[in-house]
Every structure is written in structure tokens, then in C-alpha cells.
């Protein structure tokens, strides 16, 4: 049984952002992509184009990729103005060429955000996300000191909702989609995931305060409730988590205003 779309190949023009390094000036360059099978993934098409460029003595297009199954969060192109391309709820690596038509010009550029500087071509530096995590995106649980896993029953609904948030792959599409380059969806997914679970209560206040404060210092913008983030999210994480985080942040701020904040809100082992 062969899908009808496998029967013929087609050609497109790629308009790709080329930038030699972080300090270099970038520009769009057009490359033809010929005899493309609709069953190729978008990244496989880039592989083919890169091998052709290499043969012609042109340096191949640098692009971030790894698992190629939508879970590692490495791939990060904006395709035709949409982070991760035209498909809903998928990453660039899960985009297949059958989403395009013969003769299309496809514009490919890196995720654009002040907090994600371009490293080269389509590759950006998203270390800011790691810094936010390091400031508080965890539950302190030293190996060896955990109680029995079933000692703490968690209602299925809570666990499921926590899982909805925990699915975040940390790709940064939410930031790239936001006109303010806000990281609220990313941060709220982690705050929501851990804050929904009973294990996460002890550090709930310090977590949200630390993560939001770190986010603010790293150059991400504010949320103005347009929800482009959740529309672009390859895991379709709901912007409801942003509301939940705002509530947590407000409560934590109030509580910390009326009692001394824990000594070490900066994260890590106290």
C-alpha cells in the first residue's frame, strides 16, 4: 500500500538565511532543491541540498537537528514565517515535503529573539533556557532519600495535567513566535508541571520567583496574551499554564513580602 503522494517528485526554491557567525551580517540566499520526494522530511531535503552544495564547493547550511522525531527540541527553523513550519503540533523535523507544492519558494530562517543569538546560519544559542532551569526548575531530591513511590498517591487528573505541561521539549518556538520574544510559555510549563504535583510544593514559591526573575534578566520580553506561543508549540502546550504561573507568581510574591524569603532563592543545594 503506497500513499499516492510517493508517486512523483517536485522542485522548490529555498530562500535560506546565511550568516557566517554571531557577529557577521546575515542575508537570504536562494538555492534550488530539485527532485524532492514528498515523503522526504524537511531536514532530509536540507541534507540533500547540503550534499549538493558541498559538491559545488559551497559551505553547507548549518542547521540544528538531532533526534529527528520531534522530541529532543534541537531543530529550530522558522519556515515561511512560522516556527517549525506549517504543521500544527509538530517540530521542523516532523515536517514532510508533502506539505509543500511544486514551484514553491520556501523561506527558512533561524528562530529570531534577542535572547537566542544566531550562532551560524539557522543555528541559534538557546542556553538562556538552561539558565532559567538552573535557577529553580527542579524538585530537590537527593538520590537515596526518596520515599516509596506509591506512598504519595496523586490524583490521575493532576498527574495528567502535569504531564501536559511536562511534555515541553525546550525548543524555543514559543519565544520565536512571540512578537515580544517572551519565554512565558516555556517557564510556565515547568512551573506548572512541578507546581501541580505534591512533591513540588516545598519549593513552589521560590521556584516561580527564581525562574521568572531569571527569565526577566535574560532578555526575554513580556507576555501580552496573544497566544502565538501555544499555537506554535510543537507539543501544543496550553497558554492556560501562563495564567496558572501568573497566579503562582502573585501568591509567592505576596507571601514573600510578608515573610522573609528563603535564604537561597538562587537555586541549588542550600
Amino acid at each position: 500500500m503506497v500513499a499516492a503522494s510517493t508517486l512523483k517528485t517536485f522542485s522548490v526554491t529555498l530562500r535560506v538565511w546565511r550568516q557566517a557567525g554571531p557577529a557577521a551580517t546575515g542575508a537570504f540566499v536562494d538555492y534550488p532543491a530539485k527532485d524532492i520526494s514528498p515523503d522526504m522530511s524537511f531536514l532530509e531535503m536540507l541534507d540533500v541540498v547540503n550534499d549538493e552544495l558541498t559538491a559545488k564547493g559551497i559551505e553547507p547550511i548549518a542547521f540544528a537537528h538531532d533526534c529527528r522525531e520531534g522530541i529532543c527540541g534541537t531543530c529550530s527553523c522558522t519556515i515561511n514565517g512560522k516556527p517549525h513550519g506549517p504543521g500544527k503540533g509538530i517540530a521542523t523535523c516532523q515536517t514532510y515535503m508533502r506539505s509543500f507544492n511544486d514551484g514553491d519558494t520556501i523561506v527558512v530562517e533561524p528562530f529570531r529573539a534577542r535572547a537566542f543569538p544566531v550562532v551560524k546560519d539557522l543555528v541559534t544559542d538557546r542556553a538562556a533556557f538552561d539558565k532559567i532551569q538552573q535557577s529553580g526548575g527542579f524538585i530537590t531530591a537527593r538520590a537515596g532519600s526518596a520515599p516509596d513511590a506509591n506512598a504519595l498517591p496523586i490524583p490521575k487528573g493532576d498527574a495528567d495535567l502535569a504531564m501536559d505541561a511536562a511534555q515541553c521539549i525546550g525548543c524555543g518556538a514559543c519565544v520565536a513566535a512571540c512578537k515580544n520574544a517572551s519565554a512565558m510559555l516555556f517557564v510556565s510549563a515547568k512551573v506548572g508541571h512541578l507546581g501541580l504535583l505534591p512533591q513540588g510544593q516545598a519549593e513552589r514559591d521560590r521556584r516561580v520567583l527564581a525562574m521568572v526573575n531569571t527569565m526577566d534578566t535574560l532578555g526575554f520580553g513580556s507576555c501580552t496574551n496573544q497566544y502565538e506561543c501555544s499555537a506554535a508549540c510543537p507539543k501544543l502546550i496550553s497558554h492556560d499554564f501562563i495564567a496558572r504561573m501568573n497566579r503562582d507568581y502573585l501568591t509567592a510574591s505576596l507571601r514573600s513580602a510578608f515573610k522573609p524569603a528563603p535564604a537561597n532563592t538562587g537555586g541549588g543545594a542550600a
Binding site: A20, D66, R68, G73, T74, A146, A166
Partner: protein, 639 residues
């Protein structure tokens, strides 16, 4: 010849680990901060090791080639993680998990290691829940379980179809906590290109920063490699594109023995190959075999649509051949069965290399919403790739390379034959024998990192004087750095005609044809001619554009493919020497009339650990006898 002392503790099987823990040396808390430990890799094993060691007070440097530790390929594991919790009251126990894993590995793993793995499995689940891993739960709030291949109990914990992701993010959060606290010095975009051995002990690494091209030396009191498996030697696999063998291969070239490299796992349920541009194969989780039924047409060359083939003309071959395990037969057995069906001309799809995984019965029994809840994300992935709906027609699946059981040789303390070099997770060889059961890779990675290395590394470090680690200016570091720089220069200077991918594809084809699901003496001998020839072609005509002092993905790949060319040859040599069939290693010459693996315990009841002898020289094959004190090596039976 390397000495391979497994250091398995004496005493009854179930007491060994407890006894060992009380007997090995400790490092006092004030001294721990004087020791520096390098961890390479930050998947499940690396992240859990780095965070646990830092929590104990050791100074830890962690290197990952990804831009973030959260990208490691542990993240892609779908189905679940085994643990002998017996929460289902269905007769599970540490002993059963031990026995299933040992038997699943076709009696080619060490008894003591596997038993320890089963023992600590229960701690892993506790640890992960404490970290906030959102495992699936029942309405009463307790943890849910599912079944996996090779077991008759439900002991697999899961988080939808993204268990690896959730476990890795748990370990990543633990690592992030220690990075935030300044206890782990994390280096991202950093690839290890050589191991530095000083006075016979592992004392450092050479790192290339993939973004700036800068090459740096790092000295330490001990080095831990947790860099995953080498399945990308086949080019097409379920591994991430970046997964590579470079760290373990460079350690091999520095004297660490490579054990059982021919033991590779071919996973039975992956989406079939569609074209030669393909870069990657996608797994459809083994958990699907809980409810999906595998079949092929009874008649060869039957091109009818699946719905048009009546029940009486379908062959549910796993249920027919292995009635007691049915569709949940172990991976190696299910894969070979699929291959045999396709070899008989009964394969489906445009290439004839595929069989059906059918959910029609499950949908009838449970209703579509229930099936969607259990497997929705997998059905979505299948749809994205094939543009077909598995709710309406059966999935087409075919086996693909998924895991490597072989790896660097380690003793019971997870230390290689180079003192001070520890190897964790898929990068070592120790726990899965010749075949790994489903939901055991996550278990091993976290067992090694959270619950084994924190104890065993102390035994080595206690014998090292604090502050005795060599300076990074030592001649061994200079030599290793020169070695790395030399290779980089050679790649860039070759300026040949073919991109790196050309050689990777060719190597992959040789490996799949000659050293894949079925191997023969003639085929392996041919591969041992073909691979060196391909290597020569690579050295003469590879085209690596760009420069060394910037992000250069072609240069990265060139180094990795060069290592795969060497490793592929060693795998074929190992497969040729092992004149028996066991687990994932199937030699056509050694099979029972029904096509099952015919082991030769007398001649091959051992670990083969290969020792590098220098460029172009035949490596030495050392052996470690597998002494089964408590279990009888028997013929596996899943019928």
C-alpha cells in the same frame, strides 16, 4: 594482553551488592571536594551520575556535544522503565526481573551485574517520582503499569509514550540544580575527541568546542564516559543523527577493551524505509505490542490491501510460533520472525520489507478513544511520516537498528580495564548480554548513574592521593591534543569529491547486509574486505568544507564516520569469531531447525573484549568467562 578482572563479590547472589557496598572504600566528605571527576555525556546515565556525584561533594565537570544536556537521545525512549515493584500483585520480584533480563539477554550477561540492576530498579522509581516525573497513574492515584516484551508480569512504568523524555528531564533537573549551585561545571557544545592516560590511568580528556572550534585539555582524578551506543554505524537507525561512538572509540584506541561489539539490537517495530535519502528510522514503541497484533499474508506476493485479506488468509505468526508470549516475544526473536516472513516473499508495502501491526481488534475491544489515550502520540507520529491513519488501516512496520548491547568492557564497579575510566549506560557492555529486553535501557542508565557509580567511584578515588591529578600541561595531554589537531587538519586538507554522508551510507549498507539481522561467515569475511577499502576511499576522497575554528557540522561528522569505519570492522571481526548464535547475534550457520538461536556455551560462554594494538594491526581478543553460579544457562523458550 589486558587483564580482565570482573571483581564480582563473593557470596550469595542476592547478598553481593549489599556486601560489596559495605566493603568498598569510602572517601570522607572533606576530601570529596578535592577530587575532580569528568563526566562525558548527559543522557540518563551521565546526568544522573554528574548530579549524584556533585551532590556527594565531588567537583564535577560535565561535557555534552549537544547545546543542552536535555537533548541527549535518552529523551526519545518511548515505552517505559522496568522495576520489580510488584505493585500489580502479579507475582513480580527482584528475582523474576533478574531472571527475565538474564534470559532475555540469552545468557550472555554477568549474573551479578544483572541482579544488582534488578535490585536497584525499585529505588529508581522512588527517585524519579520524588523528582516530579509524571508517571501514568490510576484513578486511585497509584502508579500504573503496562507489560513489555519478554516478561509475563506488568512491571513497566511509563509516562504516555514519552517515558525517556520525562526521566531525562528529571535527571536534567537534578543536574541543573547542581549547575545552578556551582557544583557542576557544565560545558555544552563540547565534544570529547581523546582520552588522556597518564601512568596507565585515565586522567583527562581533550575537548573540541563545536561552536568556536577551540580545543582544550581537562585533567581530572577520574573520567566517566556515558556517551551512549554506536548504532549509527549502520547509518539508518532509530538513534539521533548526532549519536556517535567517538568518545568510546577514542578510549578504545587508548587501551580500553571493547566488549562484544557485535551484539546489536534490531527493534522489530519501526516504520519501514521509504527512500535512499532517508536519514533516520522511527521507532513505534514496543508498548504497541500490548494491543497490536502482528501479521502478514499467508500467501507470498499477496498485494491486496490489508482490509481485503480475510482472517483465514492472515498469519499472526508471533501468536502462532510463540503462543505463551505471543506478540510480546523478545525483540530479537520478533525481528528475525519478521525478516523470515519477508524473505519468504510475504512482506507488505511497496518495498516488500514490512509486516502489519494491526489495532483493529483492540479498537473493537476497547473503543477508539481508549486506544487513542494509550497510543495517540505514536499513531500521530506514524501519520506524520507515512500519511496513513493506523486507526483505519494497520501500521506497516519493519525491524531497525535500535540499541547496542556491546560497549566498553567494565568490571562490577563499572570501571574499564584502564583504571580511573568508568563507563555507564549504553556505552558499557555489562547488563544486557546479547539482547536487551524492552524498558531496560532506561533502567540501566539510571541505575548506573544514581545508584552504582556514587558508591563504586569512591573505591577508586580513595586510592588516589588528593591533589595528585596531573597538570593539563603534562606531555600526555600535549600529545593527545596534537593527535586531535592532526586529525582535524587532515580532514580539511583532503578536499576530495564525496561528502561525508556518502561514506556513512555505504558503510551502513555493508553493515546492514553483512552484520545485521542475519550474519554468515562468507558475508562477514566480505565485509572485512569491503570496509578497509571504503576507509581508504574515505581517507583519499572525503570532502570536508569550511574551517576548523567555527561551527562545522561536516567536520564533526567526518570524525564520527572515521570512527564508525573502524568500529564497523571490529564488529564484523567479533561477529565472525563468535561461531554461535545468541540473542541479537544470529549466525545462519548456527541455528536449530525451527530457526532459533543455537548457542555454544562451552566455546562461547564468555565475553569477548577486544584490545587495540595500533593502526592497521589486528586487535587482540581477550575473554572473560561467564561463570553462572546460580542460574543454569538453558535454551531460551518463549513458546
Amino acid at each position: 594482553m589486558a587483564t580482565l578482572d570482573s571483581k564480582i563479590p563473593s557470596g550469595p547472589l542476592a547478598e553481593k551488592w549489599r556486601k560489596h557496598k559495605t566493603e568498598i572504600k569510602l572517601v570522607n566528605p572533606a576530601n570529596k571536594r578535592k577530587y575532580e571527576v569528568i563526566v562525558v555525556g548527559a543522557g540518563l546515565a551521565g546526568s544522573s551520575a554528574a548530579s549524584s556525584l556533585a551532590d556527594l561533594g565531588y567537583k564535577v565537570k560535565c561535557f555534552v556535544f549537544h547545546d543542552s544536556p536535555r537533548r541527549a537521545h535518552s529523551i526519545a525512549a518511548q515505552g517505559g522503565i522496568n522495576a520489580a515493584k510488584n505493585y500489580q500483585n502479579d507475582g513480580d520480584s527482584v528475582h523474576r526481573l533478574f531472571y527475565d533480563t538474564l534470559k532475555g539477554g540469552d545468557y550472555r550477561a554477568r549474573e551479578a551485574n544483572v541482579h544488582r540492576l534488578a535490585e536497584v530498579s525499585v529505588n529508581i522509581i522512588d527517585q524519579c517520582v520524588a523528582q516530579g516525573v509524571p508517571f501514568a497513574r490510576e484513578y486511585g492515584g497509584l502508579l500504573a503499569n503496562r507489560s513489555f516484551g519478554g516478561a509475563q508480569v506488568s512491571r513497566t512504568f511509563y509516562a504516555r509514550g514519552q517515558t525517556g523524555q520525562q526521566l531525562l528531564l528529571g535527571a536534567y533537573s537534578a543536574l541543573s540544580r547542581m549547575v545552578g549551585a556551582g557544583a557542576v561545571d557544565l560545558h555544552t557544545n563540547s565534544e570529547m575527541l581523546d582520552l588522556v592516560v597518564v601512568g596507565g590511568q585515565a586522567k583527562g580528556v581533550i575537548i573540541r568546542n563545536l561552536v568556536t572550534g577551540e580545543i582544550t585539555r581537562h585533567s581530572a582524578d577520574a573520567v566517566i564516559l556515558a556517551t551512549g551506543g554506536y548504532g549509527n554505524v549502520f547509518n539508518l537507525s532509530t538513534y539521533a543523527r548526532g549519536s556517535n561512538a567517538t568518545a568510546i572509540w577514542r578510549a578504545y584506541k587508548r587501551g580500553a577493551c571493547m566488549a562484544n561489539p557485535c551484539y546489536t539490537q534490531i527493534h522489530p517495530t519501526c516504520i519501514p524505509v521509504s527512500g535512499d535519502y532517508q536519514s533516520k528510522l522511527t521507532l513505534m514503541s514496543e508498548s504497541l505490542r500490548n494491543d497490536g497484533r502482528i501479521w502478514a499474508p499467508k500467501k507470498a506476493g499477496d498485494t491486496r490491501a490489508p482490509a481485503a485479506i480475510p482472517e483465514s488468509e492472515r498469519d499472526y505468526y508471533l501468536e502462532r510460533l510463540y503462543p505463551s508470549f505471543g506478540n510480546l516475544a523478545p525483540r530479537d526473536i520478533a525481528s528475525r520472525a519478521a525478516k523470515r516472513v519477508c524473505d519468504e516473499g510475504r512482506g507488505v508495502g511497496s518495498t516488500g520489507l514490512g509486516v502489519y501491526l494491526d489495532f483493529a481488534d483492540a479498537i473493537k475491544r476497547l473503543g477508539e478513544p481508549a486506544v487513542r489515550e494509550r497510543y495517540g502520540n505514536l499513531f500521530d507520529i506514524y501519520h506524520e511520516i507515512t500519511a496513513e491513519s493506523a486507526y483505519k488501516a494497520p501500521m506497516r512496520i519493519y525491524p531497525a537498528v535500535h540499541y547496542t548491547m556491546g560497549g566498553l568492557w567494565v568490571d562490577y564497579n563499572l570501571m574499564s580495564n584502564i583504571p580511573g575510566l568508568f563507563v555507564l549506560g549504553e556505552a558499557n557492555f555489562s547488563d544486557h548480554g546479547a539482547n536487551r529486553l524492552g524498558a531496560s535501557a532506561l533502567m540501566q542508565g539510571l541505575a548506573d548513574g544514581y545508584f552504582v557509580i556514587p558508591y563504586t567511584i569512591g573505591d577508586y578515588l580513595a586510592g588516589q592521593k588528593p591533589g595528585s591529578r596531573p597538570a593539563a600541561e603534562a606531555p600526555e595531554f600535549q600529545q593527545a591534543e596534537a593527535n586531535v589537531r592532526g586529525q582535524t587538519t587532515r580532514f580539511l586538507a583532503t578536499k576530495g569529491k564525496q561528502p561525508v554522508s556518502h561514506f556513512h551510507k555505504k558503510l551502513g549498507k555493508i553493515m546492514w547486509d553483512r552484520c545485521g539481522m542475519a550474519r554468515t561467515k562468507a558475508g562477514l569475511e566480505a565485509a572485512l574486505q569491503e570496509i578497509p577499502a571504503l576507509r581508504e576511499e574515505f581517507n583519499a576522497s572525503v570532502n570536508v568544507p569550511g574551517s576548523a575554528d567555527t561551527l562545522n557540522q561536516s567536520l564533526e561528522q567526518a570524525g564520527r564516520v572515521a570512527d564508525f569505519l573502524d568500529l564497523g570492522e571490529l564488529m564484523c571481526r567479533d561477529a565472525l569469531t563468535r561461531e554461535e548464535s545468541c540473542g541479537g547475534h544470529f549466525r545462519e550457520e548456527h541455528q536449530y531447525p525451527d530457526g532459533e538461536c543455537k548457542r555454544d556455551d562451552e566455546k562461547f560462554g564468555h565475553v569477548a573484549a577486544w584490545e587495540y594494538q595500533g593502526e592497521g594491526k589486528t586487535p587482540v581478543r581477550n575473554t572473560e568467562a561467564l561463570n553462572y553460579e546460580f542460574t543454569k544457562m538453558s535454551v531460551r523458550n518463549y513458546k
